[in-house]
């Protein structure tokens, strides 16, 4: 009970200047996180340098909740690479392995077919209506590294947004009531 009393007292004793200072430091934290994210985007050459695995189509290699580090270079796409791609009309990117590559003589354009390791058939069912192959512009990056379980935080926050709000609320309360 004493802790509750202290918290209420500290909320009452907030001054404008202290509030502004804390607002600025919060802004600095958010901005530096954004800077790190953008720098990672530049460094890896990919629009989203880190993705969370959402489905079990690559098990047992990648399970739901793992995170993948992506890298995109101008090297040609070859079979066996694990690529992350967007299909027109679907917002969620898919992470599967390339099983067929056909590269044109002159232009070097490629047509690629992918398949999830744990799926029975290839990904033609997932592509857009009438699309048989993926081109380079569909591909966002190659998976180069992997961390298990860390992505569950993101999955929980996306699927149960109430937890996101609770977390942000608690963080906000912590920032306001700390004496720094």
């Amino acid at each position: 009970m004493g802790w509750m009393g202290d918290t209420v007292d500290s909320i009452k004793s907030i001054q404008i200047r202290q509030l502004l200072a804390q607002g600025v430091s919060l802004g600095m934290i958010v901005t530096s996180a954004l800077i790190i994210w953008k720098a990672l985007m530049c460094f890896t050459g990919s629009e989203s340098p880190v993705v969370v695995v959402l489905s079990g189509s690559m098990e047992p290699g990648f399970k739901r909740g793992d995170i993948l580090f992506l890298h995109m270079s101008n090297d040609p796409i070859r079979t066996g690479e694990i690529v992350v791609f967007n299909v027109d009309g679907r917002e969620i990117p898919i992470v599967h392995r390339v099983i067929k590559v056909h590269e044109r003589q002159e232009t070097g354009d490629v047509e690629v077919l992918t398949k999830g390791d744990n799926n029975y058939g290839d990904d033609r069912l997932l592509y857009a209506q009438g699309q048989l192959w993926l081109q380079r512009h569909h591909i966002m990056g190659r998976a180069v590294g992997f961390l298990p379980y860390v992505g569950w935080v993101t999955i929980i926050m996306t699927e149960k947004p109430i937890i996101k709000y609770i977390l942000i609320g608690a963080l906000g309360l912590l920032v306001i009531t700390s004496k720094d």
Partner: protein
Amino acid sequence: MHSFGFRANAVLTFGITILALICAMASISDNFNSPRPSSEIQIKYPIDSGEIKFSFSMQVSLTMNITADLQSLFTWNTKQVFVFVAAEYETPKNALNQVSLWDAIIPAKEHAKFWVQTANKYRFVDQGSNLRGKDFNLTLHWHVMPKTGKMFANKLVIPGYRLPEEYR
């Protein structure tokens, strides 16, 4: 300074930093492993025995005998090795075509030395109809998927295969 909040925060931050460090070290330790994998693939050739067949849609069905020893790829940080065999060939329109014919997942070192006789799992079909009499290489690729960290992939090229000229 000694409230529950501060202590919990300190423990969590320290814990997460050490965990990240251990994951990074596990991944770096994989670099010290110098693997020496070996493999041999035989295709059942004689067209009389019906083991290579062309069908209406110009797709090839063939039987392969694959022997491989991939035990040296496994380290303590390896979760599985994904192995697949692809056929590589060139056509007038395409500089490079790679078609995966068969793949498997090796979950542990004990299973990494294997012999398998199999028909091709995926259709061996070209974008045109260029497969008759075609020379091609078979490549055995392996993709080492770690428990945490960087993934490695490499391949072994076995050249010198050729598809027969005729329909069956």
